[in-house]
């Protein structure tokens, strides 16, 4: 069920959400997940920068950022 925002397993869909929700969702996922890698989808540069910065501050590493049409897929890996 989705209301407001949707979270799939190990993926955070933060498209269309304004500050601070993309970072809030990302950090929440990083704290909960058992996986060593998660993907965060955002649709603007500000959220991309904020999510990358937040992941690094949580001790994770930004593997790569894929630019697609109207969105970025940020791959974050546990160090």
């Amino acid at each position: 069920m989705t209301v407001g925002y949707m979270e799939m397993k190990d993926t955070v869909d933060a498209r269309g959400l304004s500050c601070p929700q993309p970072v809030l969702l990302t950090i929440s996922k990083l704290k909960k997940t058992n996986s060593k890698e998660i993907e965060v989808i955002v649709d603007n540069d500000v959220s991309k920068e904020n999510v990358c910065r937040a992941a690094t501050s949580q001790g994770w590493m930004v593997d790569n950022v894929l630019e697609e049409t109207d969105q970025y897929k940020i791959h974050i890996r546990k160090v």
Partner: protein
């Protein structure tokens, strides 16, 4: 790591942007803007509201070119760096009301977060209560976000939606050029001008416009946000935006010292009153409204320049809020709060809490 290297969004970049904005703001005061009001997004939108006759408080009517510069600077910057993205549809009506409440609260304090920093930099001790109120209001906002508050997702819009605010700002600029100020005259064509009071104090048109545009570009690139600075500090213990906030304070403080604009004290400060409780609570309400809407008043203009229609609705809400504030006697003056200012704070807080509690997303995966 980042696709395009954006220096101004780096740790050093945001500090440089903050210092530059602080210096420019203090210089605007030197060059004619009111005391400790080199840049005040709320005050300037309030002055615009008066210039187009939405309120008739004759001391605060001037079509401030800085606001035009902020939006158009951000628009140009967003176009240049491929960040212009028309978007909207994230509960715009709630954002309009939040904009109104934010303005009403800010005008009880007599300034937005930008001016709160500039008032501190000028030695106005009353601003300490404003900044404390701002921090508490933003802190309450973070509790809502932690509890699942959201205004929902925005969606991609057509280009026409994204250029509405830039075109409105160009329209304002056209009005300002077509109906220039006539010395000592309260009206020029359809525009109102203050002949006394803060609205009569301003830097030259070109200086205000160019500095506004430079600030718009710097802020668009650095993502400078005075509310986000406190929010990220409280919510995530992130110092990134807060370092820009402190840098603005320091930049303005140093220029104030050099040019003789630093006058520490509480009484007799420019465009300020000494009712500490209301300075605190007015800014608390404004801070909560900014937090719930996702950006300080400056950031809302910059985002509207990037094509964010929801931010544009918030800006229009602020301009409408200024009209209500002055027409209904809610706004403060140097003598103290307005006759209905206390009620405005109470109803503003109630409005924010209502919007907060009725936009909870209780279902989480």
């Amino acid at each position: 790591m980042l696709k395009r290297d954006n220096f101004l969004a780096s740790s050093r970049g945001i500090v440089i942007a903050g210092i530059a904005i602080g210096i420019l703001a203090a210089l605007l005061q030197k060059w004619g803007n009111p005391g400790n009001m080199g840049i005040c997004v709320a005050c300037f939108e309030r002055d615009i509201s008066g210039a187009i006759g939405m309120h008739r408080a004759d001391v605060v009517q001037y079509l401030r070119p800085e606001i035009i510069g902020f939006g158009l600077g951000a628009f140009i910057s967003a176009l240049l760096f491929r960040e212009f993205k028309p978007r909207g549809g994230s509960t715009p009506l709630a954002r309009f009301i939040l904009g109104m409440i934010a303005m009403i609260g800010a005008l009880v304090f007599l300034g937005c977060p930008w001016r709160a920093i500039l008032r501190l930099a000028g030695g106005d001790g009353n601003a300490l209560f404003g900044v404390a109120g701002l921090a508490v209001g933003v802190g309450i906002g973070t509790l809502f976000f932690r509890s699942g508050y959201t205004l929902g997702r925005s969606e991609k819009q057509r280009i026409g939606a994204g250029i509405i605010i830039p075109i409105v700002l160009l329209g304002f600029l056209a009005l300002r050029l077509v109906f220039p100020q006539v010395e000592g005259n309260p009206k020029s064509g359809i525009l109102f001008y203050s002949v006394k009071g803060p609205g009569s104090q301003h830097a030259a048109l070109l200086i205000s416009l160019v500095i506004g545009a430079v600030v718009g570009i710097l802020a668009q690139r650095s993502r400078f946000c005075t509310m986000g600075a406190l929010r990220d500090l409280i919510l995530f213990r992130h110092l990134h935006l807060f370092s820009g906030f402190v840098a603005l304070l320091l930049g303005a403080f140093v220029v104030n010292l050099i040019v003789g604009q630093f006058h520490p004290g509480f009484v007799g400060q420019p465009v300020a009153h000494t009712q500490s409780f209301w300075n605190f609570s007015g800014m608390l309400v404004a801070g909560l409204a900014f937090a719930l809407a996702g950006g300080c008043p400056g950031r809302q203009i910059f985002m509207s320049g990037e094509g964010d229609g929801d931010a544009g609705v918030f800006v229009l809400g602020m301009i409408a809020g200024a009209a209500v504030s002055h027409n209904f006697g809610l706004a403060s003056s140097p003598a103290g709060i307005g006759p209905y200012g206390a009620y405005a704070v109470a109803f503003g807080l109630f409005g924010c809490l209502l919007i907060g509690f009725t936009h909870m997303d209780r279902i989480k995966s």
